[in-house]
Amino acid sequence: MSDEPVILEVFGDPDAARCSDGVCAVPGAVGDGTAEPGVHPDAEAGATEADT
């Protein structure tokens, strides 16, 4: 990839099946498409869906 890419489209739930800031999304967490209400990987840290 010699030139700077220009991403036209992103596939996949941006919050699912990935790790960010050292914490990894798991099934059942908000944002991975399989969420149960009120469940979030950072729940104990006080995070909300809006924090991600």
Binding site: M1, D3, E4, P5, V6, I7, L8, E9, V10, F11, G12, D13, P14, D15, A16, A17, R18, C19, S20, D21, G22, V23, C24, A25, V26, P27, G28, P41, D42, A43, E44, A45
Partner: protein, 232 residues
């Protein structure tokens, strides 16, 4: 000769989803390659440090790291790791969470850049991920990285020299700067042919569909059904 499709993958070593995503992508590439009319695919790994503040010799387990550095409760940290370990099993990876030695990965990324220059990046990436997640090997110390690199064809003296001098640190930073410009804030993140992004360890089917989209673009056709089904 057909121009290869490029896949640039921003990822880290200490990233459970990155290894799972690697296996899913490999499955996709096998499927895609079964059609002799499809172009070849070249994969390049780019650097992304999830926790650059981690010490090389972190004294504690993976759970301890999440508790101390990410403020997750021990119960939640264990549950997260158990869930991801279960998902790893579905792609044939036997993660040993209790054996993992959490560490700073900036040196490992430099080794990957050295390997890239020698055409050995794929081998080194696999070796480092397997060492970290399955074998519980340390992937942050120079001596350990020299040994692991040597196992897949790198010169251990050269690895030691490069790491002692932090010779490839700018290459690591360049990748991370580019990630920021692209808005990448989590990994794995795949850029396919410089135009399509795939965030996360998506299914092999998703990767195949994106590759087929590139083929269709090149042929000047449009896969309307694909757009409706996948782009969400």
């Amino acid at each position: 000769m057909t121009t290869p499709i490029t896949i640039d993958i921003w990822s880290d070593i200490a990233c459970p989803w990155c290894y799972i995503g690697k296996r899913r992508l490999e499955s996709a590439l096998e499927t895609f390659g079964q059609n002799p009319g499809n172009p070849p695919v070249t994969v390049t790994y780019r650097s992304f440090e999830l926790s650059p503040d981690t010490p090389v010799d972190f004294a504690g387990s993976e759970v301890d790291f999440l508790v101390e550095h990410k403020h997750v409760s021990p119960e939640r940290a264990r549950a997260m790791l158990d869930q991801i370990t279960g998902i790893a099993k579905t792609v044939g990876l036997d993660y040993d969470v209790d054996a993992m030695q959490h560490t700073n990965t900036v040196r490992a990324h430099q080794v990957l850049h050295l390997a890239k220059a020698q055409g050995l990046q794929r081998e080194v990436k696999e070796r480092l991920l397997h060492a970290y997640f399955v074998e519980g090997r340390h992937v942050g110390r120079i001596a350990d990285l020299a040994e692991l690199g040597a196992e897949v064809g790198l010169d251990p003296a050269e690895v030691t020299r490069v790491l002692d001098a932090d010779e490839l640190i700018s290459a690591v930073h360049d990748d991370q700067d580019q990630a920021r410009r692209l808005g990448i804030d989590g990994v794995p993140f795949h850029v396919v042919d410089g135009r399509y992004g795939v965030s996360g360890a998506q299914s092999p089917e998703t990767f195949v569909q994106v590759l087929e989209q590139v083929v269709a673009d090149r042929a000047g056709t449009d896969l309307d059904d694909f757009d409706e089904e996948v782009a969400s």
